[in-house]
């Protein structure tokens, strides 16, 4: 199906939000959403890596298809992601030590963030064109960032309240995520109503 760019964008950003509706990038969503300062850095790093690796894997996929080597997709994609992460890390370390201090810890974690691997996989299985892939990568990683940043601020706020000791920790985070996810259900069918 030939999807319009705006639709791909809204769909990946809100309707089928990567985190809240498709359950991708869960570990970091739960583990790194405790502090706003961590969350936004993680969000930005993920956005960068997703967009770069999406572009790289689009090109790689063309090569794989050309040589009928689709069975190497998973392994090449993960290598591309690992390489992107590694190169980004080195690049930031060289150019901006301050930025590296801020982001450095989060970058290696991105390799095992399934949201990052999911983007190239989805864009391949959905036969997106290059432009569609880029839009999809931006929207999907943007959706991830929105979710993790929102959750982190909500959690910072909850930190100031008297949460019963039993519920502290992951369970409470999950309940918050559940309510957020219910709220995102309001976007279902967006752009398709008329």
């Amino acid at each position: 199906m030939n999807e319009s760019l705006s639709h791909i964008f809204v769909d990946a950003l809100l309707i089928n939000n990567f985190v809240l509706c498709v359950f991708l990038g869960m570990c970091s969503f739960i583990g790194l959403s405790g502090k706003f300062s961590t969350a936004w850095r993680m969000g930005v790093s993920v956005m960068f890596v997703i967009i770069v690796s999406s572009i790289l894997s689009y090109g790689t996929n063309l090569v794989l298809v050309r040589f009928h080597a689709e069975y190497l997709r998973i392994i090449t994609y993960i290598v591309i992601i690992a390489a992107t992460v590694q190169l980004t890390e080195m690049f930031i370390k060289k150019t901006s030590p301050a930025l590296f201090r801020a982001m450095g810890v989060y970058l290696p974690l991105i390799t095992t963030n399934c949201a990052v691997l999911a983007v190239p996989l989805f864009q391949t299985s959905r036969n997106y064109s290059f432009v569609q892939s880029v839009v999809f990568a931006i929207a999907a990683s943007g959706g991830y960032t929105i979710a993790i940043v929102t959750l982190s601020l909500v959690r910072e706020r909850v930190e100031l309240s008297d949460v019963p000791s039993l519920a502290k920790g992951t369970a409470l985070t999950l309940v918050l995520a559940a309510i957020l996810s219910m709220a995102f259900m309001g976007f279902a069918g967006m752009g398709n109503g008329g």
């Binding site: 199906m1 069975y71 392994i75 069918g189 398709n192």
Partner: protein, 208 residues
Amino acid sequence: MTNSWQMIRLLGAVSLLCGLLIVGTQVNTAARIRSNQETIMRESVARLLPGIEKQIVYGIQPSGDLIILPGIEVSGPRFFAGYDAAGNFLGVVMEASERGYADVISAMYSYSPDTRTITGFQVIDMKETPGLGNKISSDLPFLENFKHLDATRPIATVKHGAKKNPWEIDAISGATISSRAVGRMLQKSVAEVAPVIERNLDRIKRGQ
């Protein structure tokens, strides 16, 4: 120096091992996967065209011509023609998809070029709301719509209980969006494929 050389050698060995394993698996499973996919398709088509014994997959070229596809590997514009044991033409089965409430709904439907009606409809994949939208695959009164759906006119979805004409689809109450998506999908697909079938009907009937 020796250290990096050692590293490269090791990585090479690892890649070789991985490559061998992957290729081995791929080679060993390819036939099985293919037959699995064929079976599923065949079963879906058979469910829509009862009494089918033989089926041909036609691909539609950009020029509008038909070619017979070797199997179901090749995606793109295509349809299935079904024949009974005696080789009589039963009808065609087409694939269609459309955005529903939650995500894309993809479906198959059978179409009779002789009467220009849709004779059956089956959802293949969807993520519609359980209990509401997902009734499009199970709600019997709704599926009743597609036993004889007139496709000579633009197919339209009307609200529950308001169906008056044979080309209208009676929507599921409370699942308007999903029902409409089905109507839109059929309407678009028929408009696209029916003329091609019409033009090549003789050839299809002969099974060439």
